[in-house]
Amino acid sequence: MRSISDSIFKTSGFIFIIVLIAIMFFPYFIALITSFKTLPEIYTSPPTWIPKEFHFENYTEMFGALPIGKSLFNSLIIAIGSSCLALLCALPAGYVLSRFTFPGRRLFMYVILMIIMFSPVVIIISLFGLMNKYRLLDTFIALIIPNAALTLSFCIWMSIAYFSSIPESLEEAAMIDGCSRFSALVRVILPISLPGIAAIIVFSFVRAWNEFLMANTLLSSHAKFPATVAFYFFVGYRGTLWHYMCGSILVAAIPTAFLFLFIQKWLVSGLTMGAVK
């Protein structure tokens, strides 16, 4: 009896996962097949499931038809800027928060947690006003600062989790050998923290790469649009060049998706640390 109910349980679980995988993969499957179609084939009703011919040249032609290369480059600059800024601010904070107890430490941790709650939408109105006041509208700096600030709390959590896993005896040994605490941090701790640092960079890079609302609001010239905003504008009208759009979405999305997959463990360990402690 037991084994029968067990196997029913297992099979239904399998079926569930297979259906879920089909659903999760569906939009990207549609993107893949559409990216090989011709425009007339896309605009047929009902739609075809397998392209009649595979037009691989769509992937080179799309860069000429729409300013996709430029928008990807803009995304890259914004994302690199945001992740560098977030890292520079997160590492020192994460280090002292993991190593010392000092007055105000709890408060600081609570503030970091609270920031996770604030949505860009709530602050976007006054960000717009502020950036206007400091003549930063329509510059990348206007995006890099709030992007970095919004990922900062996760970055600090992640670096606390990582630094806590490194034994303190390491920098104590370096300090006995004559290093100051700062140079012990730079010379001893940071080199062995490289996996954690990479995770932080990837996290804030991908978050900035995927960001839409602030870029859509704070930028106005089309030449500065990152991929998210540019693509949104490309599909805004009837007669969208869907074959190029689907191809460029795959090009813009797949690398970051895999980057995120690699750092998944660190992210989750940072998140669940709060739950366990």
């Binding site: 037991r2 109910s5 067990d6 679980g13 399998f14 569930f16 879920l20 999760m24 569906f26 939009p27 549609i30 009703s45 009902p46 739609p47 499931w49 601010c89 020192p92 904070a93 002292v96 000092f102 600081f108 920031i115 996770i116 709650m117 604030f118 949505s119 939408v121 709530v122 602050i123 976007i124 109105i125 006054s126 960000l127 717009f128 006003g129 206007n132 600030a149 919004l150 900062l152 790469w209 995927n210 960001e211 839409f212 609302l213 609001t217 998210t228 693509f231 949104y232 599909v235 969208t240 813009a252 999305a253 970051t256 998706a257 895999f258 997959l261 463990k265 989750v268 998140l271 669940t272």
Partner: protein, 293 residues
Amino acid sequence: VKKHNILKLSGIYLYLVPATILMGFGIFIPIINVFINSLYKCNAVGKRLEFVGFQNFLVLFQNPLFLQVMKQTLIWTVSMVVIATIIALIAALVLNRRFPGRTIARIIIFLPWGISFVFTSILWKLIYDQFYGHVNGFLTFILQRQINTPWLGGAQTAFPALIWVGIFLTIPFTTIMILSGLQSIPQELLEAANIDGAGPFQGFSYVVFPLLKPVLVVATVINVIYIFNSFPIIWILTMGGPANLTDTITTYIYKLAFSYLDMGSAAALSVVGCVVLMSFSFLFVIFTSKEVF
């Protein structure tokens, strides 16, 4: 000794300076600004003109759309969190077992997490298309008659269609969280329960679920915050239409500020949204942590 301590302390605080400055400029000054602006009459770029007290809030509360938008935000958040968490829980339980192809299954289910909601929403816009979309294509194929449902344009279908996309985008992260929680449960505990005669359901409800609860709490809080705040799905697929039927607080704030140029109401609604979200997170963590910790 005291002087040494002060030196040491100020050294520590020095490490916190960059993070504090960044948070200050990127978040705290804008937030404080919103709270102050909500009490002022402002021009189109958010410059304060005159103090009006709670006038902005009164105007907002008298707006017939306010209650509708609040209700839609509640439906949007609750339905998505509940459904996505249930699906993710089942998925994580299956993915925690060994079976051939498990790694690939995990990769496919996790992958959309790293993809911008913008990109996935754009793809769903194509998929939901009335004439060329694959949802209608699939239904036409199954039912063997022409189906031309305007999913995103219909008053009844638009919101469910958006919620479906939202669920789809919430599942990966939730599954990752729950799975990592499951992996931290020692296998011996389950085996011991099994030996004592517990079936899969009993093993789940008496062993797994209590241990999983802290992770579920964190995942739920984070999901509520993200879904409540999510903007691109709605903005890209329907822009809150048809007739504001898919507007949530976030899209409505944006419309108030940048389409209707009503900065006062926008600031007031931002404050309302902030307060709702913070009180929810606070209450939820307090209520659940009573049993969790």
